[in-house]
Amino acid sequence: MALKITNSCFSCYACETVCPAGAISIEVNTFIINPTLCTECDDIESPRCIAICPEPKAITRVK
C-alpha cells in the first residue's frame, strides 16, 4: 500500500504532522512517503495526509 507526494507539494509539513505511521519524511528538500510504513490509514475512511493536505493534487495513490 502506498501514497505518493507529487511536485505540487509546497512543504507545509501538515501530512508529516498527522501521519500516525511516521511514514512521511523530508529528504533532499522533498517530502516522501515510505511505502513499507504507510498503511493508507486503513483504520479510517481515507488517509489523514490527504484529508489535511491543502494542495489538491499533492498526494496521490500509487497505482
Binding site: 509546497f10 512543504s11 507545509c12 509539513y13 501538515a14 479510517i44 489523514r48 489535511i52
Partner: protein, 499 residues
Amino acid sequence: MDNNSDTTKAATRPSCKSKCESDTLTSNINLSKERRADATPAGVKQKVINHPCYSNDAHHKYARMHLPVAPACNIQCNYCNRKYDCANESRPGVVSELLTPKQALLKAQAVAKAIPQLSVIGIAGPGDPLANPVRTMETLALIRAAMPDIKLCISTNGLTLVDHVDELLKLGVDHVTVTINTLDEVIAAQIYKWIYFEGRRYEGVEAGRILIQRQMEGIAALAKEGILTKVNSVMIPGINDGHLPELSRELRRNKVFLHNIMPLISKPEHGTFFGLVGQREPLTTELDEVRELAGGNVSQMKHCQQCRADAVGMLEEDRSAEFSIEDINPEPEDYTQTMAGRCRFQSAVISKGVSETEASLVVAVATKNSEQIDLHFGHADCFKLYLVTKNQHHFIGERRITRYCSGDNHEQSIETNETNLQTTIKALHGVDLVLCCRIGTPPSEALAQENIRVVIDYAYHAIDVSLADIYSRYAPLAHSKWQARQKVEQQKVEQREVI
C-alpha cells in the same frame, strides 16, 4: 512568489529525537501544580503594559517578534493561501525561512540583544501553531527556559486550542489570540473551505459547527485559567460584516479582553479563494463603523499591522530580513548579560530617562495577585520587577522561572530543587533587592552570594506602599551601585579614547 516553496523545503525536519526532547523540556518547566494565571485588575494591567499588540501605548515603546516554526494548518480559510503566506495574520509576502525550535531560540536571543525593546515573542504561523504542537511547544519551552524576561504569546484559529490550554499555562503563555470570524455556521461555510478534525476533513456547515464549538470551548478554557484572550476577526464585506457586533457581544460574555477587527486582504495576486473570485476588501469607513458598533461590547484594537508570521521589531516596522538564520552566531553570548542590558534599557524608557541620571534600585517582588507581597520565595514562578528611584517607582517587567520548591510535592528531588534554585538565581541577574513574604536558608544564602539582598519585612504589605518606603532604607546601596556603574561607564569611555 513561487520560489517560496524551495526556501520552505530547506528547513530541517524535526526528528523523533526532537519530539522526545520536547516532552522532557516541557515536563521540566514546571513540575509543581500549575497556578492559574493572575487575572486580577493589577495583574491584567501589568500583562498588557508592555505588550505592543494589547496596548495602544505599548506599541510605541516595545517590540515583538514572531517565530516561524509552525508551517502546518488544519483549516483552509478562503482568505488565506499558505502556498505564499497566511493572510490570516500576515501581510502579503512569504515567510522567508522556516525555523526549527533550536534555530528559533538562536534567532530570539540575537533579536533580544539587538532590539532591547523586544518584550514579547509569539508564534503565529505561517500555519497554525497548534496544528504543529510538537514544534510549537518545544519552541515555547526553549524560550521560556532560556529567556526569563520575555512574554510568550500564540495566535491560533482555535480548532485544537481547548486540548492545549493546560500546556500553554504550564509554559507561562499568558496571552492567546484566537481568530474567530463568526458564530454562525452558515456564515462559517462561506469563510472556510474545510477543516481537518480528528483524522478527517469536514466541509460546509458541518465544518463551521465544529470549528465554532471548539473555538468557544477554547476561549472558555482560557478565561477559566486567567489567560488573557484577544480575538481577531477578519471583516469580509457582505459575508460577516453585519454579524461582527453580535460576535463582540458574545466575546464580552466570554471575558475576551480585546477584539481586533481586521480588514480582509484579498488581492488577486495572492491567489486566495476570495482574491480570485473578486471578493472586495472593506472600505476604511466601513471598518471604522463596524469597530465603533463592536466597541460598545469589547475594547477594540485599532493599531494592528496584520504582520507576517516572521515579523521582527516595532509594530510599524519589520526587521526580519536583518536576522536571517545564516547570519546568526550559533554560540550566543550568555543571556544573563543580554537580559541585564535589556533591563537597563527598558528601565530608562519607562522612567523617561530618570534611571540614567539618578541612583535607583531594581526590585523583584514575589506576588500572587500583583498587589501584595504575598508569596514565599520558593513558591514564585514569576517575579515582578520594579525600578525604584528616590521619588518614584515603575513596573518594568517580569522574570519567569520554574518554581524553586513545590510545597505539596514531596517527590521533587533535591537535585531538581538545586537546579531550579540555580536557574532562579540566574534569572534574577541585575536585581538589587528581592521582596517576598518568606524565604528558606539555601536560597537566602545563594542570593547573598550574588549580592542580591532579600527583604521579608514587607510581608503581606501592599507593593505600592512598600516600594514607596524602601528607597529611603536602601539609599546607600543604590548610591554605591550607581557609583560603580558610573565608574564602568567612565572606563568604557576611556577605552574608546585609547582606541
